[in-house]
Amino acid sequence: MTIQVVLALAVFAAAYVLIATEKLPRMTTALGGAAAMVLIGATNDTEMFFSPESGIDWNVIFLLLAMMIIVGIIRQTGLFEFLAIWAAKKARGYPFRIMVILVVITAVLSAFLDNVTTVLLTAPVTLLVCERLAAPPVPFLIAEVMASNIGGTATLIGDPPNIIIASRGGLTFNDFIINLAPIVAVLLVVFIGLCRWMFRSAFLFHPDRAARVMALNEKEALGEKSLLIKSVVVVGLVLAGFVARPLLGLAPSVVAMLGAGLLVLLARLEPRKVFGDVEWETLLFFAGLFIMVGSLVNLGVIESVGESMASLIGDQYDVAALALLAGSALVSGLIDNIPYVATLAPITHGLVEAGGDAARPLWWALALGADLGGNATAVGASANVVVIGIAKRYDHPISFWTFTKYGLVVTVVTIGLCLPYVFIRYYMF
């Protein structure tokens, strides 16, 4: 092992520790780590910006950017608020029914939006409904963030790790729907049952409070009707573009950028509203991560790890998939799943290249483990941290252990269901 490799591994490990402990903003850590990789000669400008194997994955960056722009514009329509209040009224003010509907809405939204965006959209209206009901908001907020982590697992665009996996694995939107959506639908039903049990004391029905929910006028939340129509049409076109990739041959990033551009053109909103939801720090964080992982690719570290894993696995891809699923859930519960997947994706790619069809389910094991593992602890996913912050701001603090005690139950059950799913679907027959 050369000095350069030792230094690169030290930089990588230090960056992981800093990201996990949040001693520095994660963007600062990732860009600092990338700068250190350049300084030790592990990468250079050509590799960073132009190499498909070891450079910044522009498909991921631009897909995220485009979806952030689209969501930023849709937010102006009031559609989410309308849906949530409409649903609460359909539930006639019964708290559990409301939770079920909010969980389903959050999970479905989350399949098509970033999880953090989803919970930012649903949290204010949840607080409003809970205030009207005199119901404790904490169970509702926890249920929603977990639903967003579960729902986001279903599609290519639902969770950032999936975007990385899709790009590195050459997987399509339809691949994710076919392989992950069925188990996610099952998990969601089971999760609703768990909510009924875990939060049973939160579902007291007060007729007078229910009347306060029924008095809300959801139509008033809707903004300009023409913007709503344009947004729905463009989102429909973008989703159709994702699904029709085999026909169109356009990468998801290109489809999303075309959709974002079209919506910007049609919406004619001021730049502050169009780009207000773009998380530039997140995009730079991704860029820094790709450079760091790419540096390890350049130095042959990822290849060596892949070869070691391949010799360890042999042809036992079933065992490898189950281990990857469980291991990813464990790691993702403890650290941010984005750097974890950014690191594991090139290793998994190598294994799939070597193993062919038998190794292909490793991608789904990685996605399920990394996405669902985020529910395990309060810091397992960015959306968890955001919701805990919102709850604290509104005087409904959620402690680390309060979240984690529910999170561990949900993670054990969901991963426990995914293990037989992966084994039966891909290896039993």
Binding site: G78, E81, I85, L120, L121, A123, P124, V125, L127, L128, E131, R132, R212, A215, L216, N217, E218, E220, A221, L222, G223, I390, R393, Y394
Partner: protein
């Protein structure tokens, strides 16, 4: 015209002041902002009147303004019930509120200096640096604008033609 010529006395609030008391000061006196004092009673910060209004609203409406439209008259009325529980301290701790360190100016500062410093600090109120600690005096934005207009001849060309 100097700062001392524009000085006025203003009410000073503290962290413990309730939203109701702070709002009453603004509503009754037409203030554009509030001076906040530390535990020793020394003016240290300024918040704008609109941030005091922010203190009176439920937080979720600040995060999602479109929700404010869904209440009927009775529902909207219920939202103000919690105002008495809120304090200025909560506003100071709110990351969304622009709490500005108080701007202090010399008593002999000229009008243009006061105006420039207020714009630079984006503040509506400045403290006279050498006013007594137990009776601090301030210069307010309306007084400064009024003095500027008076010095400039009272009006622009459009008004002068009338």
């Amino acid at each position: 015209m100097r700062a001392v010529d524009l000085k006025v006395s203003l009410p000073v609030v503290r962290r413990e002041t309730t939203a109701v008391e702070a709002g009453r000061l603004i509503a009754d006196s037409g203030l554009v902002g509030l001076v906040i004092a530390n535990r020793l009673g020394v003016p240290t910060a300024i918040v704008s009147a609109v941030d005091v209004l922010r203190l009176m609203l439920p937080g979720y409406l600040l995060d999602d303004v479109s929700l404010a439209a869904v209440f009927d008259e009775a529902g909207a009325g219920e939202l103000w019930e919690h105002i008495s529980e809120r304090t200025v301290g909560e506003m100071l701790d709110d990351a969304g509120v622009a709490v500005r360190k108080i701007l202090s100016v010399e008593s002999d500062a000229t009008l243009v200096e006061i105006a420039a410093r207020m714009v630079d600090a984006r503040t509506q109120i400045a403290l006279l640096r050498d006013s007594p600690p137990d009776a601090p005096m301030f210069v307010t934005l309306p007084a400064v604008i009024s003095a500027v207009l008076a010095t400039a001849g009272g009006a622009g060309p459009g008004v002068a033609e009338q």
